[in-house]
C-alpha cells in the first residue's frame, strides 16, 4: 500500500493522473461551484437581483470600520445599487461620521406617556423594520398598574446606617434597605395590550422600552466578532454585514432589546424609507441582529430620533449629556428620575422621569 502511495507521488511530475487525483479534482470543482452559487444567492430568487457579483462581494467584505475609504465607498455603492433595484426607488446609504463632543442620552416622561404607540409605528417606518412574517418592533410599550408605584420624597436622600434596636454590634440597618425610597415594580404589567384598546387608562403608567444604549454594554462584550460596538457618541450600533448571527448579544442584553431576523424581513417597497445609514436603518437580511440606534441616520445629522418627533404629548427628550444646557441634563438635574435597576452596572443612557 505504502509502495503504491510512493509510486503515485513519484508520478506527480508526470502528466498521468490516478483515479484518486481525478476524483479529488472533481470534488474541488464541485465545492467551488457550490460556494460561488451560494454566495450569489444572498438575495431571494424571486427578487430582481441586479448584480449577483455585487452580492458575492458583499459576502466577502470585511468589517466596515476597518475598511479603507475606497473600500467603504465601494461597499456603499454596491448596497445603494442593490437596494435601489430591489425596492424600485432611489436609495441612499449614508456613512455620516459621529458628531464631535457628543454623548447622547434619552429621557422619557412616564407621567406624560399615554401609551398610544405612535413611537413604535414611527420607529418601524423610519427604520425599515419587517412589517409581517415576522413583525419586528424595536420599542415595546409596557402598561404598569399605578399601584405598583411607591415614592416617599422625604426619604429620598436617606440610606445612611441607623441605630438598631438590637444594638449596634456590627448590625446596621440601612435607611433604604427595608423601606425603598421609591420605584415602579413591573409585576402585573402588560406589554401586549391590544391595538384597539382605548388609551390612556387612568389606572396605568405606560413605559416604552427600547435599547438602553448602555455605556458599558454587555452585548458588545459578548459579540465574538465585534460586529456590534459602541460609537463615539455612546450609541451601540451593528455592522449587519459583519454579524454572524450567533445571538450571543441577545442573550447578554439585560433588557432583551435586540431582535434577530429569523426570516427574510418583509418590507413592502412602497413603505421603504430610502434615506438610510450603513449602521442604522438600511434594510437588513435574514440571520442578523438589529436594534434601536437612536435613529443614527438622523441624530448624526443633528436631527431628533423619529420616536421623539412622533410623540404627541412631548414625553420624549433627547440630547447631549456633555452639555449642561441640554434637555436631558436639565431633566437629570431637576426631575425625579428613574432607571432600570443596575444589576450589572451597565450604565444605561435611557432614563425615565416624572414631573
Amino acid at each position: 500500500m505504502s509502495d503504491d502511495r510512493a509510486e503515485t507521488n513519484n508520478k506527480k511530475d508526470d502528466v498521468t493522473t490516478s483515479r484518486r487525483d481525478f476524483l479529488k479534482n472533481i470534488g474541488i470543482a464541485g465545492a467551488s461551484t457550490l460556494m460561488a452559487g451560494s454566495a450569489s444567492a444572498g438575495v431571494p430568487a424571486d427578487s430582481p437581483d441586479p448584480d449577483a457579483e455585487s452580492t458575492a462581494a458583499e459576502w466577502l467584505q470585511g468589517h466596515f470600520v476597518l475598511m479603507s475609504e475606497e473600500d467603504k465607498k465601494e461597499a456603499i455603492n454596491r448596497l445603494e445599487k442593490r437596494y435601489t433595484a430591489k425596492y424600485d426607488k432611489k436609495t441612499t446609504v449614508a456613512n455620516t461620521p459621529p458628531l464631535e463632543g457628543v454623548l447622547f442620552g434619552y429621557a422619557l416622561n412616564i407621567g406624560k406617556c399615554i401609551g398610544c404607540r405612535r413611537c413604535v409605528h414611527a420607529c418601524v417606518q423610519e427604520n425599515n423594520q419587517s412589517r409581517t412574517n415576522p413583525v419586528i418592533h424595536w420599542i415595546q410599550v409596557m402598561k404598569i398598574p399605578k399601584g405598583n408605584f411607591a415614592f416617599t420624597a422625604d426619604k429620598l436622600n436617606d440610606g445612611y446606617p441607623k441605630s438598631s434596636a438590637f444594638g449596634d454590634y456590627g448590625v446596621q440597618v440601612g435607611g433604604n434597605a427595608y423601606a425603598p425610597v421609591g420605584g415602579l415594580a413591573t409585576e402585573h404589567a402588560q406589554s401586549y395590550y391590544s391595538a384597539d384598546e382605548m388609551v390612556p387608562d387612568k389606572d396605568y403608567f405606560y413605559v416604552p422600552v427600547q435599547c438602553q444604549q448602555c455605556e458599558k454594554p454587555p452585548c458588545v462584550k459578548a459579540c465574538p466578532v465585534r460586529a456590534t460596538f459602541r460609537d463615539p457618541n455612546g450609541v451601540v450600533v451593528i455592522d449587519y454585514n459583519w454579524c454572524i448571527g450567533c445571538r450571543m448579544c441577545q442573550l447578554a442584553c439585560p433588557y432583551q432589546a435586540r431582535r434577530f431576523n429569523w426570516g427574510e424581513p418583509n418590507l413592502p417597497p412602497e413603505e421603504m424609507n430610502p434615506k438610510t445609514h450603513y449602521f442604522g436603518n438600511r434594510p437588513r437580511m435574514r440571520g442578523v441582529m438589529e436594534k434601536c440606534t437612536f435613529c443614527v441616520q438622523r441624530t448624526r445629522e443633528g436631527r431628533n430620533p423619529a420616536c421623539l418627533e412622533a410623540c404627541p404629548v412631548g414625553a420624549r427628550k433627547f440630547g447631549n449629556l456633555l452639555d449642561p444646557e441640554s434637555d436631558v441634563r436639565k431633566i437629570l438635574a431637576t426631575k425625579k428620575v428613574f432607571r432600570f435597576k443596575e444589576e450589572m452596572s451597565t450604565y444605561p443612557k435611557f432614563f425615565y422621569y416624572i414631573g
Binding site: G183, V209, P232, G263, K341
Partner: protein, 86 residues
C-alpha cells in the same frame, strides 16, 4: 410446519410495535411540516424572543435616583466617555 404464535404476549408486542411506529411517523411528520414552513418557524421564533423580553421586563424594577445617585452616575458616564476619548 411452523405453528403461528397466537399468545397474548405476542399480540401485545405487535400492538406496542404498531403504536411506536405510528408515534414515530407522527413526530417525523410534524418535524417535516415545521421545517417545510420556514415563515411559520420564523414567526414562532420571533414571538418566542418577544415573550422572553416580556418575561425579563416583568422582573425589572424602575428605581428612583437620589441626588447622589444622579451625580455619581453622571460622573461615571462622563468619566468613561472622557477615558474613551483621551
Amino acid at each position: 410446519m411452523i405453528k403461528a404464535d397466537k399468545s397474548k404476549r405476542t399480540f401485545f408486542k405487535k400492538v406496542a410495535a404498531v403504536v411506536g411506529f405510528v408515534a414515530a411517523a407522527d413526530y417525523l411528520g410534524n418535524l417535516m411540516s415545521v421545517r417545510g414552513n420556514p415563515i411559520q418557524q420564523a414567526n414562532d421564533n420571533s414571538e418566542y424572543d418577544v415573550n422572553k423580553q416580556k418575561k425579563v421586563l416583568l422582573q425589572k424594577q424602575l428605581v428612583s435616583m437620589t441626588d447622589n445617585d444622579k451625580k455619581q452616575m453622571l460622573d461615571e458616564l462622563l468619566d468613561i466617555h472622557n477615558k474613551n476619548h483621551a
